[in-house]
Subunit: 334 residues, 2 copies
DNA sequence: TTGTAAGCGTTATCAG
DNA sequence: CTGATAACGCTTACAA
């Protein structure tokens, strides 16, 4: 069933049918209802591709994630979804699996579908140019989880440096001096690099010598956290506190510590990062840094919608707060 | 940039450009390369909507989830993604938030985009007719996480009844008789209902009287698991073992048990459901039922692709295994 | 191997 | 308030 068939049945023109469907107020109520009724009867389904073609844009927006496994990104995705559905738009997602090639493929797919905008989540290093290119093609972009230096790109992030600084600082305030760091592949990811630097800076500001042996960089994941912790435990002089830069890593580390027969926080203090709900249910409940995953998703979507509706304006940039949530996995060094 | 502009520049017809892009072998190599080169130079981007319109179908497929929060669905989604990307198709996702209205909206959106197929994940009760309708409109469907009675609908599920039966049975084999059940809203969800029945049947088969006081139905979630367990703990005669029908529920329950000063499995045996990686990192590591989340995603996508490519055939139905993973959270009743 | 030409179902402009 | 009509960018018989 198409508009023109409906038009024929109703004895009106396609234009009128289109209007009845899209701008109800532009059609005489009686006629409008008759058209709508016929559409319903014949199970008419709007053909989005045809409209997109004519209008030269779609109402779909694309979202790029490294992966949606892991509660953080998943929460952000849900928030995006909700907002997008409010705006009656469609969502195309892609998981890049942290691969540049995959990302390129997905961006191309988005372009082919003429998405109105793209949200980059958990964005890699050095893709500003990709984004500028997209913007030049009238595809609006927002990046989340990062706060960029660039002043021309929309972002909704949080201060990764400060968040890591605060966490490390907290450990230091508890008199810890040998503080281990378990972190993802920070050389490849801007936000991880910033966290790494936050850790270093906190050490420096308190006159603690940075010790490369205390940092282990690994893939994210429970098992990896466990292995990393084991490595730390086997050091000649193991740390008295560990900052695991994701709750998953921390949970893995926790199991490793327990398995080795140590207590948390009695023997080793442990702090996570992300603030997933689960952290509160660990034994002991995990002190962590709460990343505003949901808020970022919401805000990023709003920013995107505004860009789309207002056309090119100057970039909107938001840096949200990431708060330290103190629970029971850290204690003062005796 | 469009095909016809490229055609003009290359001094050929649109048809040739289209062929050069879509069926490279149908164009003389030299000419093809010239066209491709021009396309690249001018940054040509294929217009998927136009093609969809002409072809009367799109290469997008839709996936419906209740929510992607929670590692299980997220894993299935990732598996689907991977497969879909292999087939160079696009993925449109929707979270129904367990709402019929949202689901209807999303299905409509999928139809408007003329998706080639839809994967229903974590499907609610009584939607067979919705699916049959879709099938009548040439939209192929697969449902996952369920094994349907209907013989005309594709599904890739696992035996929810048997999985729950086995878990309960295991507890019984450990001499438990008062076995609590913490379960989601099973009255609304087919697969939960089946698990509930599996639990009941196992009891019955061993001559254990079903006691409604021992089952608490709740929303899924950590907090809910905790509260449900508290409720069970306050029973005049609390259970000696608890079957929590999701690992999240189980982890919540675990924290509740510990908080009340009891030991797992010493005082209370606990078994989860889902088999998320995390369960292995609990203290104690959680015995659970492993749901083949990833395999279901993969297979469901393959089934869908086959349906799409082969046109209407008879339904493909797969029932995968859900295995009991025995770890340390259950012990024999003393 | 390549070209011609007719649409696909909408939207939007312009006229009535 | 309504109608006629020309695109939008692509695919695909069919013809050359």
């Amino acid at each position: 069933m198409t508009m023109s068939r409906i038009a024929k049945i109703a004895g009106v023109s396609v234009a009128t049918v289109s209007r009845a469907l899209n701008y109800p107020e532009k059609v005489r109520p009686e006629l409008r209802n008759r058209i709508l009724e016929i559409a319903r009867q014949y199970n008419y389904v709007y053909h989005a591709a045809a409209a997109d073609l004519k209008r030269q844009k779609s109402n779909a927006i694309g979202v790029l994630f490294p992966t949606t496994i892991g509660p953080l990104f998943a929460e952000t995705l849900m928030a995006i979804q909700e907002k997008i559905q409010e705006h009656h738009m469609a969502l195309i997602v892609g998981n890049t699996m942290y691969s540049k090639a995959e990302e390129a493929r997905l961006v191309k797919q988005f372009q082919e579908r003429r998405v109105a905008g793209i949200i980059f989540t958990g964005y890699g290093l050095g893709q500003e140019n990709l984004i500028r290119n997209l913007m030049r093609q009238n595809i609006f972009c927002v990046v989340t989880y990062e706060n960029l230096e660039d002043t021309d790109i929309n972002y909704v992030g949080f201060d990764n440096f400060k968040a890591a600084y605060d966490a490390t600082n907290y450990l230091i305030s508890l008199r810890h001096k040998r503080i281990g760091l378990i972190i993802g592949p920070y050389r490849k990811m801007g936000r991880l690099l910033k966290r790494f630097k936050g850790y270093q800076q906190a050490l420096k500001d308190h006159g603690i010598q940075f010790d490369a042996a205390l940092v282990v960089s690994t893939e994210p994941g429970l098992l990896e956290g466990k292995q990393a912790m084991r490595q730390l435990l086997h050091l000649p002089e193991p740390p008295s506190a560990v900052f695991a830069v994701s709750d998953h890593l921390a949970i893995g580390a926790l199991s490793s510590i327990k398995q080795a027969g140590f207590q948390v926080p009695g023997d080793i203090s442990l702090i996570g990062f992300d603030g997933v709900e689960l952290a509160a249910y660990c034994d002991p409940p995990l002190t962590t840094v709460r990343v505003p995953a949901r808020d970022m998703g919401r805000l990023a979507t709003e920013v995107l919608m505004k860009s789309i509706n207002n056309g090119v304006k100057r970039a909107m940039q938001y840096c949200l707060d990431a708060d330290l949530i103190i629970r029971k996995s850290c204690s003062e060094l005796k």
